[in-house]
């Protein structure tokens, strides 16, 4: 433990560069590759910095390949950073100290860490022994989690017999048995249907409320972030584009506002106007029409984000 370090998660100028071999298609290129190898540097994460306090639920938002999973892997100790510093709960993750591993968990969407052929309950027993949990504490936590996620009848069936959504739920139970203080959730709702997604989200919120755990969640579903996170970090091409409150995101990035008006005769009008002209447009609308209801809103967050990424690409 390092004293005086602010925040549960402390990231400073973290960078990760991968070297990948290049290969073209076709017979001649294949034969050529027998003799000469081409390499390419991929800057997966580029000089990112942020702090997360205890109990925060932070969303990591970005398209595929943005660097979200790489960041999470560095924070959970699976990858060494190329440069920069990351500290979680005062530990250097890549040292993989036992004490650190017992206080964190990484849940990856679509990945199984439970035993395939066994009922989930058996895998839970294994985790109990691995994390050295006393029996009664373990049982209490296990039963609480099973109830919260409503998987009572699923945990006795071999994991391979469960559907994707059911598997995800029992995976989550298995990863939280040791009541970690830090949760890294990597695309947890990917491939799940809408009901299951909502279930998982409300569970994460409840867990955070009950146990005060810090949650770092990556997703490319806006709905996940909207439902759970007050704070969002937008990442693209390995760089942080935005770090702050979700509702401030639109303010920073969007250049437009949406005006919705309902007229007396029932007609609905939707206008998208540049921010600067909002009051002008509203005034004109009210003057020229008989308006019964009027709302001025930010455009949907998806559109904002899309714009942001599009701007990044062209920049």
């Amino acid at each position: 433990m390092l004293p005086g370090v602010p925040g549960v998660v402390h990231v400073s100028h973290l960078t990760k560069i991968f070297r990948v071999p290049e290969r073209e298609s076709g017979m001649s290129a294949a034969l050529r590759s027998l003799f000469k190898r081409q390499w390419r540097d991929v800057h997966a994460v580029e000089d990112i910095s942020f702090e997360i306090e205890a109990g925060e639920v932070v969303g990591f938002l970005g398209p595929n390949g943005a660097g979200k999973t790489t960041t999470l892997k560095m924070l959970s100790g699976l990858l060494y950073p190329t440069s920069g510093e990351g500290l979680v709960l005062g530990h250097v993750p890549s040292r993989r100290e036992r004490e650190y591993l017992r206080r964190m968990t990484l849940v990856m969407g679509n990945r199984n860490q439970l035993q395939w052929d066994l009922p989930a309950l058996d895998s839970f027993e294994l985790n109990r022994a691995i994390y050295r949990l006393p029996r009664d504490d373990f049982r209490r936590t296990r039963d609480e989690l099973i109830e919260l996620l409503d998987v009572g009848d699923l945990v006795r069936k071999p994991v391979r017999q469960l559907s994707l959504g059911e598997r995800m739920k029992v995976e989550v139970v298995g990863s939280l048995l040791h009541l970690p203080a830090v949760l890294f959730l990597d695309e947890p709702t990917i491939g799940l249907d809408v009901t299951m997604q909502r279930r998982l989200r409300s569970f994460v919120a409840e867990y955070n409320r009950r146990h005060g755990a810090t949650v770092l969640l990556t997703s490319h579903y806006m709905a996940d972030v909207e439902a759970l996170c007050k704070r969002v970090i937008v990442i693209h091409h390995g760089r942080i584009l935005f770090d702050g409150r979700l509702d401030a995101l639109a303010d920073s990035f969007s250049t437009t506002k949406t005006i919705e008006a309902v007229l007396a005769d029932g007609e609905r009008i939707t206008l998208r106007v540049p921010k600067a002209e909002t009051s002008q447009a509203t005034a004109r609308l009210l003057a020229e029409h008989d308006v019964t209801d009027l709302t001025v809103e930010d455009p949907p967050i998806e559109d904002v984000i899309e714009q942001v990424f599009a701007a990044e690409v062209s920049a």
């Binding site: 100790g77 699976l78 060494y80 990945r111 691995i130 050295r132 006393p134 009541l179 146990h211 755990a213």
Partner: protein, 278 residues
């Protein structure tokens, strides 16, 4: 309940629980796959039966013995061989490529437990149904090939300990071998050389006394002999009490060496994995 105030059980108790749970669940799982286990066993039994038939044929054509070994002694060697071979089955070093690729390794790395324990425990659990399956096969082979086998109590005791010693030595060695996968996926050649050496110097191909002298000397300096030949010979041969206990001591030595090598290689491998990613 606050997340920061979680109590812990003692390390020893948890380790025991882990092994017990893993072994129990493995036994349950393995019995589900009875049919495939039997088929696998048929393939496995082919090897010693071939050697047995070949050497017995030679013995018969040479007037009843090969280097002092009668068909009965040969039969005893190869029938016990089958049980020892079963005990030798551990996680294959070729499996590490799969582990890395499928992300199973990430899961292991996130847990505060060395992955060797999982391999040791799960394969140990598998041995129970395997041994149960072996008994009728061993009986059948005995009916066909008439082995001469009269061990006394100490031999049986040493044998029972030695087969587990062999299991641990081989688990450690193959784990270390598998670590090579972290540096190159072209591991086939390296592993083949290892297995070839093992085939020739462990007593798997034929009883070590039948091999040329130089290979017998070489075998004394390598761990292979103690994973195969020693357990078999302890049961079917005429070893003195001193050599029986001495053999167990050598097993202990190789377990120590194996543990040291494995620990070092694992550390290097994790460092490599974490630098390069997957």
């Amino acid at each position: 309940m606050s997340v920061s105030a979680v109590r812990r059980e003692s390390a020893a108790r948890s380790m025991l629980d882990f092994y017990a749970t893993t072994i129990r669940t493995q036994i349950q799982t393995q019995f589900q796959y009875r049919v495939s286990l039997y088929m696998y066993t048929v393939g496995m039994v082919a090897e010693p039966v071939i050697y047995l038939v070949v050497w017995t044929t030679i013995a018969r054509s040479q007037g009843g013995m090969v280097d002092g070994l009668t068909p009965g002694a040969l039969a005893a060697y190869y029938i016990v061989w089958t049980l020892v071979r079963t005990m030798n089955i551990v996680f294959t070093p070729f499996g590490w490529e799969w582990r890395i690729r499928e992300g199973e390794l990430s899961g292991q790395l996130l847990r505060p437990l060395h992955p060797i324990h999982y391999d040791l425990a799960s394969f140990a659990g598998q041995k129970v149904p395997w041994i149960v399956l072996y008994l009728p096969i061993g009986a059948a082979l005995s009916l066909v090939f008439h082995p001469t086998l009269h061990p006394h109590a100490l031999q049986v005791a040493v044998f029972l300990v030695a087969i587990w010693g062999a299991y641990v030595i081989r688990s450690l060695n193959q784990f270390s071998l598998g670590m090579v996968t972290f540096w190159t996926t072209r591991v086939g050649a390296i592993f083949q050389v290892w297995f070839l050496a093992e085939l020739l110097l462990s007593g798997r191909l034929l009883p070590l006394p039948l091999m040329p002298h130089w290979s017998q000397t070489l075998a004394n300096w390598l761990p292979f002999k103690y994973t195969f030949y020693f357990p078999i010979e302890a049961l079917v041969g005429n070893m003195s009490t001193a050599s029986l206990l001495g053999g167990l001591g050598m097993q202990l030595l190789w377990i120590g060496v194996g543990t040291a090598v494995m620990t070092g290689m694992w550390r290097l491998a994790v460092r490599r994995y974490s630098a390069v990613g997957n």
